[in-house]
């Protein structure tokens, strides 16, 4: 489609349309998932009440987690030594430890039986606490935020005896199943606790894209074993990007190895498959502080920003759709339009798998009105 306006004009119109939709009549196809927005200018004392308020607006955490084992996938992308300028990673591209601690605390207060923090630390088998220490974090702040808090590095087998297989509904776009660390199955409630960012390969990285890190590099990484998973994780997930080889043969291969070997085709589809295979029960996306231009300081140019906003919902596609609107993008955007200029929309692909809606008309937004929360990532 040829655009008869400037990119800036189009962006303004798209954002305007996105803002207008929630107030229009909702589509009558099933109950609208609810997504809460909260303004939160700092990681100070206002953070905990803001998160509590959001969870209350979603129906209360107790209903979701009481007596349950909760697994929280956080976003600690890249090596701990990367910084955007001198800014600590948590102020730009990592989920902030205070948001993690607040979420853990509220889970504990709501009666969670056990809370397990999960992340596949970059190219490492070291304990998650050691990874955090390298970022100048104090893991005890999180471990002490609630009773029975555990960490697990899910980049490999970890404390499990074997990998578990998660099947993708409808056969998936690329993979019909994934073999992952046991923690993604050994939980009653799965939470994606993400940072609100753009992404060089997937357009945006929110609660859905955060789940790409579920995949253990021992099976889906550059250093994966050929027949069996490697014992130790090494390197990143380049083979998921370029499709240069299949995962370890112990896992199921791609549905069709003849599909394009382009990262902008593959990553959105794989990510959609992952959240279909491992449904997200609660999506939390934080952008009290964040970065614009990409998912980490290695993407240039990029800049530190302070949107001062939190978003949470029980449906990850709906939550990400609201996040996109907050960022000044149209959640219904498709390939060729911002922020998916080069790639397919992960939200669209997840929607196709029945994970959730991305049309704001089908989403109930509560808390801070969307128009008051908008922070345009692209100026």
């Amino acid at each position: 489609m040829r655009m008869n306006c400037t990119r800036r004009q189009w962006l303004a119109a798209a954002a305007g349309a996105a803002l207008a939709r929630p107030f229009a009549a909702r589509a009558a196809t099933g109950p609208a998932p609810r997504v809460a927005i909260a303004k939160c200018p700092t990681y100070g004392p206002e953070l905990l009440p803001a998160m509590q308020r959001m969870f209350d607006q979603l129906g209360g955490l107790e209903r979701l987690v009481k007596g349950k084992t909760v697994a929280i996938k956080v976003n600690l992308t890249g090596d701990t030594s990367y910084r955007l300028g001198h800014a600590p990673a948590e102020d730009t591209h990592y989920t902030h430890p205070r948001v993690i601690a607040a979420a853990v605390h509220l889970m504990g207060r709501a009666g969670a039986r056990r809370v397990r923090l999960l992340e596949s630390c970059w190219s490492s088998a070291e304990p998650l606490a050691e990874f955090m220490l390298q970022a100048n974090w104090e893991p005890r702040d999180i471990l002490g935020a609630a009773p029975r808090v555990e960490f697990e590095n899910t980049n490999y087998l970890g404390s499990g005896k074997k990998y578990v297989r998660l099947a993708t509904p409808k056969g998936g776009h690329i993979f019909r199943a994934f073999d992952v660390n046991h923690s993604y199955e050994d939980c009653d409630v799965f939470v994606s606790l993400a940072k609100m960012k753009e992404h060089a390969t997937a357009g945006v990285t929110l609660s859905i894209k955060n789940c790409f890190g579920i995949l253990p590099v021992t099976i889906y990484g550059d250093g994966a074993g050929i027949d069996e998973p490697s014992i130790e994780p090494h390197g990143g997930r380049g083979i998921m990007h370029d499709g240069s080889r299949q995962p370890a043969k112990s896992a199921l291969p791609e549905n069709d190895p003849k599909t394009p070997r382009e990262d902008t085709y593959r990553i959105p589809r794989i990510v959609a498959d992952v959240v279909a295979a491992r449904p997200v029960d609660l999506a939390i996306v934080e952008a009290v502080r964040s970065m614009a231009g990409g998912e980490g300081p290695w993407i240039k140019p990029s800049r530190a920003i302070s949107p001062g906003v939190l978003v949470a919902g029980t449906n990850c596609v709906a939550t990400d759709a609201v996040c996109m609107a907050v960022m000044g993008f149209d959640p219904l955007a498709v390939r060729g339009t911002a922020p998916f200029e080069r790639c397919d929309s992960t939200l669209q692909l997840a929607e196709e798998l029945g994970v959730g809606p991305r049309d704001l008309q089908r989403i109930e937004i509560v808390g801070t009105p969307l128009r008051e929360a908008v922070y345009r990532y692209r100026v």
């Binding site: 090596d79 001198h86 090494h234 990143g236």
Partner: protein
């Protein structure tokens, strides 16, 4: 400043007049491969009170170590730095070698030299500066070795090369002016205890090299004549040797553990003392509590020094990192403390020789009254603002090409 730095005399410099190039420079020793063809140069040098040496026979009081060109290893024909097992650029450094040589030859001056560049190889100026800083920060002297292009260009007075030469002399002069730093002992959390010889020579020395890359601050302790004082104040000891330790070594290490230290050893350690320890297990080790400390015994004798360095870092824990560098994948650090304990000095070497685009931040454990940065690229120190962290401080480092020394006053 007394000239005391070594220069490998370039084979292209046959004219005695080329000695003018080292006039008023830090060079006090000229190293020749032989006297053949250089007699007139040698004669004039002696008249100028410059010491002449054979490259293979350093003067009394000097220990010559065979090193390598430090820097970021580049894949041939590629512009990008090649990745090591961690995926981060691979740094070559002589730091561990200088330190080991100093431990083995106390009181000796350590020179470190690498093979001269091949006839068609051009060594960029920053790499010379990095080599000087790498050796000097660890207490040694790099034997300056010019490539053919630079030697000929300097002799011909090419302005850009003369300018670069002056910068190199400035770097050497900087370290000469701070010669007292080389006497500052390492500020360590770990000791590597080994014979560093015989069957254990390669493994233990490679462990020193690779542990330095993990940024764990360690001291080098030969097992021969091991005394408890050598382990005082440390948190952990790694004993990498394949052989069973002598009764004396074993006793000193067990005493260290009983007082609260961590010992990391292989199965050749022998009978495991103590009881199974609580805490998060490491898949490759059995942890045992003994006295106030712990023993981590590897299930199998480590055969990969890289893996042992990584395991050691995890077993010791990043909680005890003395220095963490952010945007520092091309940087290396070496932490020392003044003899009176009042000042800490974190040598930071930029092995790329290029300030790059991303400014680095250093986290340094402890509390300090002031921080300043010394650099061989600027005159005098520069005050650094400190951002207080829970157990330490952060300083935002100004960008530098080669060397920054963060001096902290307690």
């Amino acid at each position: 400043m007394h000239p005391n730095w070594p220069l490998r005399w370039p084979e292209q410099w046959r004219d005695p007049g080329t000695l003018d190039l080292i006039k008023d420079t830090p060079f006090g020793f000229l190293l020749f491969p032989s006297a053949d063809g250089y007699q007139s140069v040698v004669d004039r040098a002696r008249r100028l009170d410059i010491t002449i040496c054979d490259i293979n026979h350093p003067p009394a009081g000097v220990e010559l170590a065979k090193g390598e060109w430090p820097g970021i290893r580049m894949a041939q024909g590629q512009g990008d730095a090649s990745g090591g097992p961690t995926g981060v650029p691979w740094i070559d450094s002589n730091g561990w070698l200088v330190r080991l040589t100093r431990v083995r030859k106390p009181g000796q001056t350590v020179w470190v030299a690498a093979d001269p560049p091949k006839s068609n190889q051009i060594v960029p100026l920053p790499q010379h500066q990095v080599a000087v800083a790498d050796a000097a920060a660890h207490g040694g002297c790099w034997v300056v070795t010019l490539d053919k292009d630079m030697a000929q260009g300097l002799a011909a007075g090419k302005p850009e090369l003369v300018n670069g030469w002056h910068k190199l002399m400035g770097a050497i002069g900087f370290f000469q002016a701070h010669r007292e730093w080389s006497a500052w002992p390492v500020d360590a959390v770990l000791a590597v205890v080994s014979s560093f010889a015989g069957n254990d020579e390669f493994f233990s020395q490679e462990l020193l090299n690779l542990t330095a890359r993990t940024n764990v601050s360690y001291s080098i302790v030969p097992s021969g004549g091991l005394r408890p004082e050598a382990l005082r104040g440390l948190r952990a000891v790694v004993y990498p040797d394949a052989g069973t330790p002598s009764a004396e070594v074993r006793q000193v290490l067990l005493d260290f553990v009983e007082r609260g230290g961590l010992l990391i050893a292989g199965p050749h350690w022998g009978e495991a003392q103590g009881a199974p320890a609580a805490g998060e297990p490491h898949p490759g080790y059995a942890l045992r509590q003994f006295g106030k400390g712990r023993i981590a015994l590897a299930h199998k004798q480590p055969d990969d020094p890289y893996e042992l360095a990584q395991d050691t870092q995890i077993l010791v824990s990043h909680r005890y990192d003395l220095v963490r560098l952010f945007n520092g994948s091309l940087l290396g650090s070496y932490c020392t403390v003044s003899p009176d304990g009042r000042r800490r000095l974190a040598h930071v070497i930029n092995y790329s020789g290029d300030a790059g685009d991303d400014p680095a931040t250093a986290y340094i454990a402890g509390r300090y009254r002031s921080a300043k940065l010394w650099s061989c690229e600027s005159a005098g120190p520069r005050r650094l603002d400190m951002v207080v962290q829970r157990d330490g401080i952060e300083v935002h480092l100004p960008q530098f090409d080669v060397y920054g020394g963060v001096e902290l006053e307690t």
